[in-house]
Amino acid sequence: QNVTVTGTVKSADGETLPGVSIFIKETRQTTISDGKGVFSISAPDQGTLVFSYIGFKTQEIQINKNAGPISVILQSSDNALDEVVVTALGISRQKKSLGYAVQELKGQDLAEAKESNLVNALAGKIAGVRVTNSQGSMGSSRVVIRGETSIAGNNQPLFVVDGIPVDNSQLNSAGARDYANAISDINPEDIESISVLKGPNAAALYGSRAAAGVILIKTKTGKSKKGLGIDINSNAVLETLLTLPVYQNAFGQGSEGKFSYVDGAGKGINDGVDESWGPKLDGRLIPQFFSKGVAVPFIAHPDNVRDFFQTGYSLNNGVSVADAGEKYDYRISYNNLKQVGIVPNSGQGKNSFVLNTSLKITPKLTLTANANYSKLNSDNLPGTGGSRSTSTMLQFTWFGRQVDINQLKNYLDENGKTFNWNNSYYSNPYWVAYENTVSQNRSRIIGSLALNYKIIDGLDFNFRSGTDYYNDRRKVRIAYGTNGTPFGSYTESAFTVSENNTDATLNFNKQLNDDFSLELLGGGNIRRQYIEQNDQSAPKLAIAGLYTLKNSRDPLISSNNLSRLKSYSIYASGQIGFRNYLFANITARNDWSSTLPAQNRSYFYPSFNGSFVATEAFDIKSETLNYLKIRGGWSKVGKDADPYRLINTYAFSAPFNANPQLTTSNIDLNPNLKPETTTSTELGVEAVFFNKRLRFDLSAYNTNSYNQILAADVSQSTGFSSKLLNAGKINNKGIEAQLGITPIKKQFTWDIDFNFAANRSRVIELDAEKLLTNYIVATNSAQVIATVGQPYGSLFGTAFLRDGNGNIIVNATGAPATNPTKQVLGKYTPDWIGGVYNTFTYKGISLGVLVDASIGGSIYNGTYATGTYTGVLASTLPGRAAEYGGISYYYPDNKKENGTVRVNGTAPTGVTVYDDGIVFDGVTADGKRNEKILPAQQYYKTFRNIDEANIFDASYVKLREVKLSYNLPAKWIRPLSLQGVSVSLVGRNLWIIHRNTVDIDPEVAFNTGNGQGLESLSNPSTRSYGINLNVKF
């Protein structure tokens, strides 16, 4: 005999819980709680109700017809046994049923330790996730999970926000700026949780883009409110320099010890030279750039670079309102970010509005609508890299160490001309910062509509269509009178990006009997991608100071590019569970992509995985071993090509004397492309010991990617620079471990979370014919290559010439000789990465400390290569004068062609004696010890063209995050009608505890591409510290 049971579900802290799944054990009927946590179900008397909800322990309650409405309180889960996680396509699954590793990050961590680019927040916290941060807080960040699996393609994971795949491109255009990758548009405050699906095993259902893993972002939704339901968050952060090259302060601008300023462009003595090989900074009197021909003291300004930078800051203020009722829920939030960078006149602002809402139209039909609008505005982003007219550090690495930066702040002289320390190559750095600006303006909407229809209990139909659409415009101004660009220039770039995904799925869940449960899903997807780029440039301005395309002296240079892609997919997945301890999962997907030729267009890929919970199967109930699970699986995913990679085309360039111009393409395309394929095997163990004091999760994986689509460089004598191949095989294998320890668990709690990941990659083959041995990924003096038999990302370049014993051979002048054959000099990928997060909690106070490390790997240090050549770095001091260990020498008869001779005792009368001699530690071609003395300037200049001298170990250990938070006790705030107040002090990137490079932060990246490990006059990295205040009304 059935009774109607009603009741309310709440969490331990009194919040009502909507959407809790309620299931009658005997009849297998189900329902869910409504927006106010209320449920009602017809059930047999004395039957059992099972309540389950993500993040909470599953609870069983026996029905008693006389008990009246019941109140159920669910305990939050810290137990792997009950944990429910979000998996591919947003499907919630019990973690114990999964045959692969999934790791989650809670939104609160992101909101407190705020990073303006949310990718940075992943650094050090999740095993196997490698984040390389860009320069400062406004640039790009790259994230790679489990190593690079694609030789030439994108290796960053797919980002999915509330079920909608979103764009994370770094769209580059003119102006030498490190534009932020697009996912940074998402405001961390709006994130409920981030779930990381590591690699194809977890992400196979996402198809083509799953090979590099998927990062699922779930945004906050409306919950039944307590109080007013208003949440205010305010955050202020200061940003200062973390690293700066170490400069010498003993010698100033010039060459061979001589300098005198007339016009800064060669009229004086070495005054066009932008290097610091000049006279000693001993206060001698020399005319300088500001002294109008008067000889003034030549002295060091040790902080001249540091003083150029300013303290940056960001202010982040947000408010949200949320509520939920029987038939609806909503959350509306607004957030404003204002950022000022460390480079003068740089900054950006961001406004974002998010609306998440759902409406139960009928008991069976629910409509969900989400909209996330963001607007990024910057008048000027910080200049990076090596462009004379726009970069920041280029000028400081080619610099006079005597320059007083304060003398340059007024960058115009009395005639209105730019005023600088050097006029042969550079414009005043403040002129560059204030006049040569690059603005960015991006408006973006990510929106979706979803319908859920319950056909019968256990069978749902879902339909969802979502679009990510944005416009990104950049305006690049080079001012009239800029050195090297005398007429200035003006460029506008505009991007339109749109990605639309429509999915329809059927879900079926049923407890078949006491032993078996079944979950099935089948569906289809249509994906459209559209990317358009328009560039217009006035290469020379007609008049100064007016930035419009019409103000052009020369014909405009324009180009545009349109890229379209469409794909159809069908997919299915199933899970069979046996007695809650043995699970088998299977997925299958078939894609049809427009980018592949018709005959290879359709590709199918399956995955299998399973898990076995030993503690449950053998009914182990021990205090020592609380939980033990073994899991494993195999998967295969395919990947299509970029659009238009099948048939060669010919590119237009501007007409020449009214003749249209076409030129041949550098790449030989391939009409027979096949999809790329990645297969991956993964095994893992999860265990919990000692009353949950010790938690352990270990994964091992082996991933093979083959049939890779890559534009292999070929000898240009073929008529092309590269050839598009379906070739290449790369293997990645690795282990990941997470270890949680709770040494103290009383009122004072201490948690330690370790994560560790080691990945080994090996390029097995580049093409089947074995004609190609190297694939060049990027070039900047040294190169990043994929070379057969080596790990992915080898650094390749010129090396010292050595004899059989490893001694460096010198040439006739006594300078080190270059090996005519380029060598593999390292790899940019680390040997292992890891982090340790310590959390100390006492009452409402918690302190979190994250230290992370990246060990092994190498970096080409472009700052060092240049700064050694130009003599600005402290590392160029040894040997530069007697007091720095320089050897005394002279030229017989004062003729340089006679070569250097060491002064032993006294030199012959009449010759000039120099004291900046250095003998390179090497051997001559005939094996004798080198004794030739080189003047210091010549000595240090030899290393710039020998890449080996500029490659350093990239290992680092960083104090990544320190976070102190305090939740004010309820008894203090309740009288004020507040629901919660928390204050946090947060520091990020506080300290590089250990590094083996000099002058740069080894973590610094310049873009999000595969060509990492090539540092090139990057802006200094920064540390930040700030305060976060959260008030709930």
Partner: protein, 460 residues
């Protein structure tokens, strides 16, 4: 849905089938830019020939190079020029227009000539055929010269002014096929002389063939093979460089020579110094160190002449003056029965005329003892005067200086090749990694991949 997906993947940005005239303009312009531009002309061969010198960043003038220094002639030459001209041949054939084939073959031969003159052994027979050869073998320099002589003969036969098949997009001769025939023959003569020290019989045979075909050569300055540049941004690469940089000056070697000969071309070749100087025209010694060059100073040394700095200045590929020097040399070597001394004088006149210098100055100049033709050492007479006449054409001037060994140039003490001047370009470093075995074979056949390894044609 296949059809729909096929349509999505049709590239809307660029044509799959190019028009031959557009491709002819684009490829010719790209080739000229490389030939006349920074890496191959200003920053290398013009320095080796001591036409120009560097006044800032003088490393290249001191021959400090790496194997990435000389990549652009190779990459543009093969992947843009030869690939483009091959496609024009294909398109011309498809249209039944042999004149496209002829013109493209002439220009392609010129590019192969530039490549082999600079590097020596190069891919030729397997070059530009990616479907068959991903790693093309290097042909010996002799075989390359023989091959392009053959190609030019074919081109000469294909070019037919009477066929009525017009070509467009020709920015050198505006579609005048008769002039293309002359240019083809002129290139054959140039190559015949290039190999004359090694294969004189072949040289004579080529010249005889041209005569037997009834062929004619470039016959006036209006027939010069050259590309006139336009206004910015289509300006002459030299003009473009001087707009933003100030790295080059005229070489002291040629300034001294022009002063010594009282040569009226000096004010054309050199600009006056910015600061007033006693000499008015001051060259920078080749191979100066940065500090030596800056001690002379930017304002006290001469830029190249305004003729060469003008945006619309031409890139000269083959001048009438050069052609006359070639005929003089062919006569001097006994390949023809023409009057070498007379042709030598005509060549100097043609060079003066190229810069519109006429009148009595020309006769005064030619009649100087130091200029008069020396039949006993024709290499010296022709070498020196041809070197002056080729001013600005770095690659050709350098090739001829290496072959004729006149003028005798010396390297500065600050250079790094033990007193030698480069006699070839180093192969691009990418060849080692991308075409390694063939590269190794070429090096073992030709000699070490150094700047100082003499090429086959350079007999003395």
């Amino acid at each position: 849905c296949n059809k729909e997906l096929d349509e999505v993947n049709i590239n809307p940005n660029a044509p799959e089938i190019p028009q031959p005239d557009y491709l002819l303009t684009g490829t010719t312009k790209t080739t000229a830019d490389t030939y006349w531009g920074g890496t191959n002309n200003m920053n290398s061969s013009l320095l080796f020939a001591q036409h120009w010198a560097k006044v800032q960043y003088t490393e290249e003038d001191r021959f400090i190079f790496s194997n990435s220094s000389f990549t652009s002639l190779w990459s543009t030459g093969y992947a843009q020029s030869i690939a483009g001209f091959n496609k024009i041949i294909e398109l011309g054939d498809a249209q039944g227009n042999p004149n496209y084939r002829g013109v493209a073959l002439v220009l392609r031969s010129w590019v192969f000539l530039l490549l082999t003159d600079a590097y020596g052994d190069i891919p030729y027979s397997q070059a530009g055929k990616i479907k068959q050869f991903v790693t093309p073998v290097y042909d010996k320099q002799k075989d390359v010269y023989y091959g392009i002589l053959n190609d030019l003969k074919t081109a000469q036969a294909a070019l037919d002014p009477a066929s009525g098949k017009v070509i467009s997009g020709d920015v050198i001769y505006s579609g005048n096929i008769a002039l293309w025939k002359k240019f083809a023959n002129s290139l054959r003569l140039r190559i015949a002389l290039r190999i004359a020290d090694k294969e004189p019989a072949k040289s004579k045979q080529v010249i005889d063939e041209i005569l037997a075909e009834g062929g004619t050569y470039i016959n006036s300055k209006s027939e010069n093979a050259q590309l006139f540049y336009s206004d910015s941004p289509q300006q002459n690469p030299v003009a473009a460089s001087f707009e933003t940089r100030n790295d080059y000056r005229i070489s002291k070697t040629i300034v001294d020579k022009l002063f010594a000969l009282n040569d009226p071309r000096l004010p054309i070749y050199a600009s006056k110094t910015d600061n007033a100087t006693p000499q008015t025209y001051v060259g920078i010694p080749n191979g100066s160190t940065n500090s030596e060059a800056s001690a002379i100073g930017l304002a006290n040394s001469s830029r190249p002449g305004t003729y060469f700095l003008a945006p619309k200045a031409p890139a000269v590929i083959f001048s009438y003056a050069e052609l006359l020097f070639d005929r003089a040399e062919a006569a001097a070597r006994g390949f023809t029965t023409e009057n070498a001394a007379d042709l030598y004088k005509q060549a100097i006149r043609a060079s003066f005329d190229q810069y519109s210098i006429g009148g009595s100055a020309v006769d005064d100049y030619i009649n100087q003892a130091s200029v008069q033709y020396d039949a006993g050492n024709y290499k010296k007479s022709i070498g020196e005067q041809k070197w002056i006449a080729l001013f600005g054409q770095g690659l050709e001037a350098w090739a001829e200086q290496r072959r004729l060994d006149y003028p005798q140039l010396t390297a500065s003490v600050n250079t790094v090749l033990s007193g030698k001047i480069p006699v070839r370009f180093i192969y691009p470093g990418t060849e080692q990694s991308l075409n390694g075995q063939n590269y190794k074979n070429a090096v073992s056949s030709q000699g070490a991949d150094l700047l100082t390894t003499k090429l086959w044609f350079d007999a003395f």
